[in-house]
Amino acid sequence: MKPEIFLFSRTPDADYRYLFPLPPHSDAVDAFLQARLEDMQRGQADGTVHFFLSDTDAILVRAVNSGSRDLYARPIFSLEGLYCPAADVRPFWLCLPHVVPGFWSARSIYALLVKDGQTVPLPTTQLLDACAQYSPKNRHAKAIQQAIFAADTPVSFTFDANGLHFSEQPPTQGRTRWQPQNPRQCDIRLTLDRKTKTAHLEAVSHGHMPYPIARSADMARDADGWSFSELESAAAALETELDRRGWQYIPYKGGNA
C-alpha cells in the first residue's frame, strides 16, 4: 500500500502552498480539496477528518491549527492528510479504523514535517504507525471499526468528536438480509371439498410439523370433475411463487418420509 503524505500550509517566511505536493490526482479530489481550503480560509479548522472517495482515488484529509505562528503572529493552519491511488484504495480502507481515530485526536503533523522553515520527509508508514498507536480505545473507535469492516465497499465519510458520519449508507446487504444457501423443501397438497365442490392447492413445509406457506385460489368443479389442465396451471403458478420465496417442491415418492 502506497498512500502519500500531502500538506498545504506555510512557513513563517513563505506563504501558503503545498509544502508536500499531491501526486497527480483526479478533478473530484481537486474540487474537494478546494472546498476544504475555502473552509479553512473561513477559519473552520477544527480537525474534522474527511475521507473522500472519487472514482479513481481517495484522500484522507483534515484542516487544523498547526500550533505555529508566522512573522505577524498569525496562526498557521495546515491542511494535511494522505493521498491514496486507485490500486490501493481497498487496503487503505481496511486500515482506516486503526488510523482515523488516532489521526483525529493527534496534534497537527505540521510539527513533524516542517522544522525551522524546512520540510523534512517522513515515511508514510511511520505516520500510519503513530496514528494507530495514538488511537484511543473508546466507543467511537470501536464503532468506526465495526462500520468499516461491515461495509462491502469504501464510502466517503467524516469523523469528528461525534463519531463517524457516512456520506451515504454503506452497502452491507450481504450481511443484513438472510439469503438461504439451499432452497427449503416443501410439499404441495391437493384438497377437494365435496360440500362446496371446490378444490385448492396448498404448499406446506416438508417435515414432521408442516406449516402452510402458500395457497392457490379455489377452483370450481365442472360437471365431470375438475379439469386436469386447470390443476396443472395452478400447480405451476404455485411453484413459481414458492421459488420466489426460496422454497423447492419435492415430489412425494412413497414410504415414510
Partner: protein, 342 residues
Amino acid sequence: MSKIIVTAVGVSGSGKSNAYGAIMELLKVRRRDSYYLTACGATPEERLRNSGIINRYADINQGFISTGTMITTEFPFAFGGHFRPDVPTYPLLDMPLIDYSGGLLKTMLNEESEEASRLLHRIIDTDVLLLFADANILSEEGGVEPARQQIALEINTIFEILSTERDTDFVSKPRTVLLMLTKCDSSLVPQTLKDNHFHGLVNRALQVFDPTVRFCINQPGWKIAVVPTSTCGDGNSNSWRDNNGVYHSEMTAPPQPYGFDIGILYGVMNELENRVRLGYDDSEEPPEQIEHKSGFVSKFQWRHILQRLAGQENEQISLYRQYVGNLHSILDPLCGTQIIEV
C-alpha cells in the same frame, strides 16, 4: 457594463485582506460621500448570488482577518454613486477586486506558477494599482534598506521588469498608482513619523519604493499618490513586537477604518478622467467609419477625434464626466492631508 480593474499588490502580511474588509465596510456598509460598492451581475439572480459570495468574506466586525490568506478570491463588485438627483443610481462600473496570498509575489520572482502568472497579467491590465506598505516595517529603526528588502523588493522588481518590456500595454496606458500605508494607527510608529499628516512616514515610503515611484512620475499620464490608512482606526488596537521580531496586534475597540475609501475614489476619479480625456470606454466598441492608420495617433485618441468630429459624446462618457466633477469636489480638499499626490 464597462469595467475598472483595481489590483492590490503587497507582500504577505502587508494588510491586503484586511484592506478589503475595510473597503467593504466603508463603501458597502457606511457608503461615504454617496459612493457605494454593491454586487455586480447581469441578472438579479446573479447579483444576489454574488452578494452572498461577498458577504461570506466581508464581516469586518468580526475583527481582524486573523489568518493569512490561503486562496485567491475574487469579489464581484460594482461601483456607483448617487450624488445628484439627475445622475442614475445604478452602478456605473464593474469593479472586481481580487484577494490573494501575498506570497505569490515571491513565487512570481522565483518559480513558474500558473497562479502567479495570472496575477502578473492582471497587474499588467490593471487601471488602478494599490501598493501596500506596512507602516510598522517602514518605521523600523534600521531605516530604508531593511524595509525595502522586506516589503518593496518584489514590487520594485516587477515594476522594473514591466517598465523595460518593449511591447507591452503596461506603459502605453495612463494608470493610477496608490501607495497605501497600512497599519498607520500602530503604536509602534514613532510620533516623529506621524507628525504633520504622516509626513515622515510618507517620505520614508517614497524612499523605500523609490524605483517604482520614480518610474511612475516619469511616465506621462500616470499619477501616483500616497494614502495613510488603517483598518482599526487610531487608538482601537494594541501592537507590540516581541524579542524575536514578531509583530503582534489585537483589536481593543470596534474598528473605525479610514483611508481605503479615499484611495479607491481617487483611483476611480483619475481613471474616469483619463477615459473622458481620451474618449474611450471599454463597454462597447464604437464603429469606426474612417480607418485608423497606426503611427500618428493612438487608437484612443483616434476614437476621440472621431467622436469630436461627429459632435457627439457617448452617454457613458458624459456620466463619467459628472462623476469626475463630483469626485474632484470631494477629494481636492483632502489632497495634502489625507491623500498626498507625488
